[in-house]
Amino acid sequence: MKEASIAKHKYAPKLYKKMGREKHDRIFAVLLLLPALIIVGFTTFFPIAKSVIMSFFNYKLKANADYYWNDFLNYKELFQEGEIFSAIGTTFKFMTVTVILIFIIGLILSNILNKDVKGRAVLRSVVLLPWIIPTIVTGLLWMWIFQPQYGVLNYILMKLNIIADPINWVASMKFALYSVVTASVWRQIPFITIMLLAGMQGIPNDLYEAATIDGANSRQCFFKVTLPMLSNVIKSTLLISIITNFKQFPLFWIMTGGGPVNKTTTLAIMTYKNSFVNLNFGKGAAVSTIWLVILIVFSIVYNKVFKTARD
């Protein structure tokens, strides 16, 4: 063992001398990157390209179905049926409502936990618990709470005389989307809270002292000191949560399956249904491609907006 390692040590500088250290380093750098490139290339870069190409072809997973160029038929069908527009609308509605809610609640919660609350250390951990509950469990948990006959929510609301009859939350046209929003908000509050709290702890105390001497109350401190100092954290967490909610799939699939009557069909659900329920891969890929375009446009706009906001 020992001899082998000594031999290796002698070998390495020899190699340097032979090739020159810089050239050796360059090869080493590429070798280090290779596994990442291969695996991400094979399962991400390549499928994205393939997905775009597939979207222009007739590609159905049925017996004796051919793979051929079909003159944008996938796209024509999508736009004529019009379901794609409502799916885009639902996706954005879900994303916007969820992101706004998690940011408001996250800001309130992190602001309280940043103060001298009793049992602060324990509370900071307890508040994080939903973050480690698996997504599918989150869905099931809330379905049990929303359950029409035996669910806790209906019982409490009826006890408090807020509603007269039990509501079938997950299956109702009015509330289905918001049922999923609730589950999604519940699971994401911890993440936002940790991020904002970490950001708040980085704000130097002198700033607050200076503001207080200048006569600022706690509300002014929050809006004039805390929020501006958090802008970087908010920028990055906002982007992460927008994307997370934009692509939410398991919660919808478990809780509503896209129903009732496509009321909660998002782009994610639509892609999945086209590809793996109707087995029309070309059409599923077309939905993904539209999705890709939306994401690219969005990220360009997002960067522009934040750049101009900083100037």
């Binding site: 390495a12 951990s125 994080l128 698996p134 379905m143 035996y150 019982y155 970490a198 782009l267 891969f281």
Partner: protein, 275 residues
């Protein structure tokens, strides 16, 4: 800001705590009830006659135990693979700046935000062509690829904090590049490795979509999928059973969280707060 909170803060805090922790407690309470107690109105807030029958049923269910083991295997292998690949790539990005390395890093990070559902169609047909469909490797590879970009970026941050002088010293002592990385640099960033490991484990444990599309064989199916296939009926669910499997699915993560919370949070906040 260490100011004293007002009374109003405590009231808001209590409401939020009930919202955040209540459902988890309710899951535990329900799992200890028998079927009569579960469907009682008004609900029993604490089971009058707690029972372990749901748990006994689950442990007797061979298929559930298979799913459970599969989830461990998949999550561990994914974590292992992700750690190794992220260390190598992160180190390369941190120490060797070549033309286009910044662009490559950005390319990695931007494809990683692209929704998985969006590429799953193409992924399915690719895996079908190379014969990887319905194998454990399919899920492990895709999960690893999904985690590598973020994890290697985090590792790059950890490596950036380590002074280059260390490598020079090792070089003078006759240490090659790879052994410098393994023997000198890695021990210094073990908190970082732990952080990306926990982060990956959390995501791999949570996987639903990859298994749903890439695996149809019960022998290698993982937990989230197994639960939805086996315990979710068409019309009515056996809620005692469903809540018990939910508890079982959450417990490994709860245990990790109790002991390694600090590192989990570190991994999460390190990247975003700094950048």
């Amino acid at each position: 800001m260490n100011s004293k909170p007002k009374k109003r803060s405590y009231i808001i805090l209590i409401i939020l705590l009930v919202f955040l922790v209540g459902p988890i407690l309710w899951m535990f309470v329900t799992s200890f009830k028998d079927n009569i107690a579960i469907y009682k109105i008004p609900p029993e807030w604490l089971p009058h006659k707690p029972t372990l029958s749901n748990y006994i049923n689950i442990f007797k269910d061979k298929l559930f135990m298979t799913y459970y083991m599969n989830n461990f295997i998949t999550a561990f292998l994914t974590t292992f693979l992700t750690i190794i690949i992220s260390i190598l790539a992160g180190y390369s990005f941190s120490r060797f700046k070549f033309r286009g390395s910044q662009i490559l890093l950005m390319a990695f990070l931007s494809v990683s935000i692209f929704p998985v559902v969006g590429i799953i169609t193409a992924l399915y047909s690719t895996f079908k062509n190379v014969g990887l469909l319905n194998t454990r490797a399919a899920v492990i590879l895709t999960l690893t690829a999904a985690n590598v970009p973020f994890c290697m970026w985090l590792m790059k941050g950890f490596f950036d904090d380590i002074p280059r002088a260390l490598e020079e010293a090792a070089y003078i002592d006759g240490c090659g590049r790879l052994s410098t990385l393994i023997k000198v640099i890695l021990p210094l960033c073990s908190p970082g490795i732990l952080a990306i490991g926990l982060y990956t484990f959390l995501i791999a444990w949570d996987d639903y979509l990859y298994c749903l599309t890439l695996i149809t064989d019960d022998k290698i199916r993982t937990l989230s999928n197994g639960i939805s296939m086996r315990y979710l009926g068409e019309l009515s669910y056996d809620w005692g059973n469903v809540m018990t499997v939910s508890v079982m699915a959450s417990i490994p993560l709860l245990i990790l969280f109790i002991f390694l919370q600090k590192y989990m949070i570190q991994g999460l906040t390190a990247g975003s707060v700094k950048g």
